[in-house]
Symmetry: C2
Subunit: 218 residues, 2 copies
DNA sequence: ATAAATATTTAGACTTGTCTAAATATTAAA
DNA sequence: TTTAATATTTAGACAAGTCTAAATATTTAT
């Protein structure tokens, strides 16, 4: 049985692999987990001993199939708990991540599946992230951000890339949510901000905002 | 913030205090937590430093008000999660204790209260144990066991003292549950077993069984 | 291709919670 | 009330996960 710490390393390595494709390096993991490179090295050796990562000195790491499966399982638990917290306990979407960080480590073969059934097999978490199924299959978002999409067409927001509380509260304040329809009215060359139309009114959003919104053409 | 281990010590000391009234001794705690007396001594010093127990060498411990409040809070979380697992996720009552042992350590000021509301403010957990309210008030069961109660009267089962899976499955097999009505038909002097009537049929139960059932006269 | 900058690993130490073995207290028995 | 049994504490050690400082490797720049 893995410790909470080991699980968190696996999850972090998994998400870094998604971003970078090549081997994940020590420093990145350290930064992500707010720990030191030397601590990461120690842990990578342990994970390698357990056949969860392939590790060669100075070469960074890559998850083994084994390690990847476990990482996906933890992400599945995390996202299902987030759905529970928002849909059933009525938390706001900016308040659930830290709680899910704890809940994802509850060890049970049956709990995740029962929770999933109770929630009616949701496909996405409150931030639009896809929930892996029981077999670990997961379809990731295309990198289709509002920042890089054509003007004057209708799009629907399908996810947020940054799910920090600060960003989510900003979205709340302009009433943008998963499922909202948006149309780009104009772009500003100077700072890449844009005026968009949504919910029958139009307003300006920063580049920082638009590049963190996954959209799909309607 | 307390560690999971510290929380488990507090919870254990609390339940031992309920049984024994005087100071709880090192050996008992060690047995209950399946650890060694020397480990317990170490921890008692730490808990005393944090003003959670009163500890004097060789004299055992007693929870401070502070420690007691925390213990009750953990018990509250444990029992609410058990209700969730049985009522919402449809676990059987013999399968939820170990999971609740994990869930009770999720740290959140709001989660317990939201969960309680979601479950419609249950007063008892699936084993009939009372759930402390938000202020930590709790009314414990009177020690009214089926084993020591008059013959030929009607009682209702309000709780189980032992909530091991083995015992709960035995109760399932004879269809005895919280809320079941029972009447003692006869007692056997030799082994203190008794024949009882419940659900329109009568059968024999051991002393071991009857002394683990809390009942209330109808 | 050598030097400088950056990344990574090693060495040694600390904390938490645990253990065994030995020392000391308390309690029960004779 | 002295001895024997039992309970408790201390001493010293270990594993997990972390840290700082120092040693090595790798990468980048000149
Ligand atoms: Mn999250
Ligand atoms: Mn986590
Ligand atoms: Mn329980
Ligand atoms: Mn516990």
């Amino acid at each position: 049985m893995l410790t909470k710490t080991e699980e968190n390393y696996l999850k972090t390595i998994y998400s870094l692999e998604l971003l970078h494709s090549k081997n994940v390096n020590t420093t990145l993991i350290a930064k992500e987990l707010k720990t030191r490179a030397s601590s990461v090295t120690d842990m990578l050796k342990k994970l390698a001993d357990k056949d969860l990562v392939n590790y060669k000195k100075y070469q960074g790491v890559k998850l083994t199939l084994n390690g990847k499966n476990i990482a996906v399982k933890i992400i599945r638990r995390h996202r299902l708990w987030e759905v529970f917290l928002v849909n059933k306990l009525h938390y706001n979407w900016d308040q659930v991540h830290e709680l899910a960080e704890q809940l994802e480590h509850i060890k049970s073969d049956t709990l995740t599946d029962k929770l999933e059934a109770f929630l009616n097999y949701p496909e996405f978490d409150p931030h639009g992230d896809p929930i892996p199924n029981k077999d670990g299959d997961i379809t990731h978002h295309k990198n289709n951000m509002l920042s890089s999409v054509a003007i004057n067409n209708n799009y629907v927001i399908i996810g947020v890339k940054d799910s920090s509380s600060a960003f989510l509260k900003l979205l709340d304040s302009v009433n943008l949510k998963i499922g909202s329809t948006v149309k780009i009215i104009s772009k500003e060359e100077f700072d890449s901000s844009m005026v968009i139309e949504s919910n029958q009114n139009s307003f300006s959003i920063s580049h920082q905002t638009s590049k963190n919104l996954y959209v799909k053409k309607i």
